[in-house]
């Protein structure tokens, strides 16, 4: 019998089709993983199941009962527990209370206390019961997030990337926990996960989502062998692409070095993120920094900009030391950032978004006008939407605006943080063209990516970062040619 089933579940956000007619089912005791590239609609799918917003169309059945349109609290009451991609706990309460208070919803005081300790034992947090949840390590917080999901007398667990941001040893521990929850406690589990080794090892079945559509479904073996899945998910590193790459003339860029990081160390609070990172960028280059989720890519960019000041090491830009400067001072020297979340000003129009960078830079109006006109030439879509507010733009348009905005002013180096995140392949291709175009106009680019396809296609040089360490530096062709190396470093 199916414990949970969806029929043609659909969710549109304006023109963005996040989830598209997805038929999904899971039977009791099954462990089913949902995989798919960023922006495939995985988390939106969970949000629909848990009633965080109503579907545009389609049905959700739990134990053959139609639960479409239930509130999150009602869904939880039915016995569907959910963990979150971005850790969601009660930071200023004790670890025990994090579990105990939710459990009180379903159990008497005495039982809730007992049940809470059982749950904490299961996730290996019983020793920390009296600690403040906010003081736990990242991995323990992820486990606490799962523990909270277990309190709702849950039969069905929806786990949203439980290992995100964890190093691989710790991920293995989490994978064991998930298997234990299934085997020893009989939970039915839907797992969203990016780490393919884990997915392939522990799932009974796998569903692949791509751009809101269900692309494939099957056992781990079937999915591994499915070519379509490989193309969509594993970044399209198929033979044709490799040949194309090999044939690409490598540009020999001997421009002068404009950015240099030397022995840079960064911390978030107690946790040491970057370990002696060294990299350099020469004038006119496209350099990419590749790495998995949580490897330290965004932190590297934040450190360059002074948003996360390095604890040691030096950063120089055009020969001038910029480490220790405030972010705005760094930006005023000609570095700009396109953040992964785009951070388009939602209540300003496209035009206003583009004008904004000029206010502090003392650039004459004529130059400002011509730069903005230039931007519209590169991004004709933006010109059409000139007087629309930022929050009315689609994901792709926002990405364009974020990139156009980063070019405003006298910018010589653009830091791009995962420009492909959450974009359809066709748009990713557009973005790649735009990056190339910008580069041809003389802007140097440091690109941070998870999407190996995009990153390697564009790069003059590649760095690979893993757990805060630079583990590879060289030509993209060399990296690709070495099957074993690229497998190990990038998981492709």
């Amino acid at each position: 019998m199916n414990l949970l089933e969806t029929k043609a579940l659909t969710k549109h956000f304006g023109s963005l089709m996040a989830v598209n007619g997805v038929d999904f089912s899971i039977h009791k005791g099954e462990l089913k993983s949902i995989i798919g590239p960023n922006g495939a609609g995985k988390t939106t799918f969970f949000n629909l199941l848990t009633g965080m917003f109503p579907p545009t169309d389609g049905q959700i059945l739990f134990k053959d009962q139609n639960i479409t349109g239930s509130t999150p609290a009602q869904v939880a009451g039915l016995g569907i527990g959910r963990s979150f991609q971005i850790t969601s706990i009660f930071p200023e309460l004790s670890v025990f209370d994090n579990v105990y208070i939710p459990a009180l919803r379903y159990y008497s005081k005495e039982d809730a206390r007992k049940r809470s300790m059982e749950i904490l034992e299961d996730v290996d947090l019983a020793d920390e019961a009296e600690d403040l949840a906010g003081n736990l390590s990242h991995g323990d917080k992820r486990h606490l997030d799962i523990a909270i999901a277990l309190t709702c007398r849950s039969e069905l667990l929806l786990l949203d990337e439980p290992t995100s941001g964890m190093p691989s040893e710790e991920s293995a521990r989490t994978a064991q926990l998930i298997v234990k929850l299934k085997k020893e406690h009989g939970y039915t589990i839907v797992l969203i996960e990016h780490k393919m080794d884990i997915v392939l090892a522990i799932s009974d079945t796998i569903t692949v989502l791509n751009f809101g559509f269900k692309l494939a479904e099957g056992t781990p073996e079937e999915i591994k062998g499915n070519e379509e899945v490989q193309r969509a998910y594993l970044g399209g590193l198929e033979a044709g692409f490799q040949e194309g790459m090999a044939a690409r003339p490598s540009r020999s860029l001997e421009g002068k070095e404009i950015l240099r990081l030397q022995d840079v160390n960064s911390f978030y609070g107690e946790s040491h993120i970057l370990h002696n990172v060294g990299l350099n960028v020469r004038n006119g280059e496209i350099v990419t920094l590749l790495g998995r989720n949580g490897a330290g890519k965004t932190t590297t960019l934040r450190t360059i900009l002074g948003l996360t000041p390095p604890s040691s090491g030096s950063i120089t830009f055009n020969g001038e030391r910029v480490s220790g400067l405030a972010p705005q001072a760094v930006v005023n020297r000609g570095i700009s950032l396109v953040p992964a979340e785009r951070r388009v000003f939602a209540n300003l129009t496209v035009q206003e978004n583009l004008e904004l960078p000029f206010f502090t830079k003392g650039i004459p109006t004529s130059e400002k006008r011509s730069q903005i006109e230039q931007a519209y030439k590169y991004f004709p879509t933006l010109e059409r939407r000139r007087y629309n507010k930022g929050n009315k733009l689609s994901g792709g348009e926002q990405q364009m605006l974020a990139m156009a905005r980063a070019l405003m002013g006298r910018v010589s180096l653009v830091l791009l943080d995962e420009p492909s995140q959450g974009l359809a392949p066709i748009i990713v291709k557009n973005v790649a063209d735009i990056i190339r175009e910008i580069n041809n106009r003389g802007v140097t680019i440091l690109l941070v990516e998870q999407n190996a396809l995009l990153a390697l296609e564009l790069a003059d040089r590649v760095y690979v970062i893993d757990k805060g360490l630079i583990v590879y530096e060289g030509q993209p062709q060399t990296l690709l040619a070495d099957r074993e190396l690229s497998q190990r470093l990038l998981g492709v």
């Binding site: 509130t71 999150p72 939880a76 930071p91 200023e92 919803r105 019961a129 999901a149």
Partner: protein, 324 residues
């Protein structure tokens, strides 16, 4: 199997509350030594009741309201009007005042509880100011800017018992009864399942919802309870002054209670009480010495926000747990 952590010790808290009540009971006799008078201690305790309820809202539930004075003032005005026009004993007026103030909190709460953050705070101000303008413009009924005079404070009689609260010291002990009740009710609420859920809402509203709590209902109850505490404080204030004026409904008064919470320490049992006492005392003290007393209050407030973000009581508790 490891044992669950011991629940917080009720005996210890009872002891601490006992000491608190003793100190507050002796307050009118101590206050002359620091330049105060009995009436000031009455005000301190009335505002402590107000702040206790407000702490449930901001300190425990994490909801910021700038309109709590609306329920405070509305209750006071109602009490006055009922007593003056219907010539009923004060106790009946008090009940009417608390009832009307609480009902206003229910109605307004129902209307605005789905809004969050700054929008919610702005709406609370809007409703608060609405009552303020009614009180200052509807002169025929409220006395307008001149205020409502002639609110009785004489004999409180319930059945065979009667108590003359005309003088400030006896009125102080009348208020003290409500203060003790308010403290106990707040303590009980905070320890209860309800109070624990409020804390999870403060910490992470989405997650609280996702484990099955009807967050909106809890927030509404928290808002209503804060309104009831404000209304109780309001009727006591009207009796104390024998007079109500529009500024009792003003958002500045609502702001004062926010300051009391922040200075004393939000989300603690004793913090709002300490805050209400300290702020009321300082306002009185500084306004006696300088007409720029609001400036002095502002500086004190800024110093607290910057250096003692957990307030006086939060600071004390932290020091104690740090050294033990």
């Amino acid at each position: 199997m490891r044992q669950a952590p011991a629940p917080p010790s009720v005996a210890m808290d009872c002891l601490r509350m006992g000491i608190l009540f003793l100190v507050v009971a002796l307050l009118p006799f101590m206050i002359p030594y620091v330049g105060g008078y009995v009436g000031l201690s009455v005000e301190m305790v009335i505002f402590a009741i107000f702040a206790l309820g407000f702490d449930l809202l901001l300190g425990y539930t994490g909801i910021l309201s700038f309109g709590q004075a609306a329920y405070f003032g509305l209750a006071g005005y109602t009490m006055g009007l009922v007593c003056i026009h219907f010539n009923v004993p004060p106790i009946v007026g008090m009940c009417a005042g608390v009832l009307v103030g609480s009902l206003a909190a229910v109605v307004i709460g129902l209307l605005i509880i789905r809004k969050t953050g700054i929008y919610f705070a702005m709406l609370t101000i809007a409703f608060g100011q609405m009552f303020f303008f009614i009180a200052s413009r509807w002169t025929d009924v409220t006395g307008g800017e001149d205020g409502l005079t002639g609110i009785p404070r004489n004999l409180i009689s319930i059945g065979p018992f009667s108590w003359n609260v005309t003088n400030d010291l006896s009125f102080y002990y009348f208020v003290f009864i409500f203060f003790v009740l308010a403290t106990l009710v707040k303590y009980w609420l905070v320890q209860s399942h309800f109070g624990l859920v409020l804390k999870t809402i403060r910490e992470n509203e989405t997650r609280a919802q996702m484990v099955g709590y009807n967050v909106r209902r809890y927030k509404l109850y928290s808002f209503i309870i804060a309104g009831i505490f404000a209304a109780v404080a309001g009727v006591l204030y009207a009796m104390f002054l024998r007079y109500m004026f529009p500024q009792t409904l003003d958002w500045i008064r609502s702001g004062n209670v926010v300051i009391m919470g922040l200075v004393g320490g939000l989300g603690t049992l004793f913090g709002p009480i300490v805050g209400a006492g300290v702020v009321t005392y300082l306002m009185n003290f500084t306004s006696y010495y300088t007409k720029y007393w609001q400036f002095v209050m502002g500086v004190i407030f800024v110093v607290f926000i910057l250096f003692f973000p957990r307030g006086i009581w939060g600071f004390v508790e932290r020091r104690r747990s740090g050294t033990s």
